[in-house]
Symmetry: C2
Amino acid sequence: MRKIFGQVGRLKPECIEEYRRLHEVDVYTPRWAGVLSMIRDCNMQNYSIFIEDDVVFGYFEYTGSDYEADMAKMAADPTTQEWWSHTRPCFTKYKPDSKENFYTDMQQIFYFQ
Amino acid sequence: MRKIFGQVGRLKPECIEEYRRLHEVDVYTPRWAGVLSMIRDCNMQNYSIFIEDDVVFGYFEYTGSDYEADMAKMAADPTTQEWWSHTRPCFTKYKPDSKENFYTDMQQIFYFQ
């Protein structure tokens, strides 16, 4: 299968620069190589993150057969957990009534190959 | 070349349903076939639009060699102009001080193939 995900989130204003640095620089360094390999191992590919002020948008394509199981596998990885201990505190609720305090799945309304 | 674009926009609340219908249903009908073929002719591919309440996010990959020229070509297409006469009035400014009243390019801060 191939399922396309679009996710939106909002950063705390004081954390925007840190979130950018983590994704533009730090994640490609050897310390976090396990984060990238776990993304691949969990069947996520063509992964982009975009930013406009405090709003971040994540796009990726999932090519596995069990998304829940792959997300659980990722969540159990110690390096990813350490990465998230840096990235997740950068987020605030996307909207005041959001349940999630991280990325929220958006609904795809158009696709053209 | 292959350049990845992420774009964000905001819909007028009273136009959300219309914008969804245009992209979930209408655009795939014969009337608008020229819109889709123009997207292809202008070297845009893997195009998705996502929505969360009034916020829309567009993602596509540009594979041509002259983005400005391809966008000018698209803007000169009569069918696309008619399509935009339906879709563009659905938008309001993303932020009160936005210059654009349509999709605004976001900055890509992360990529992993």
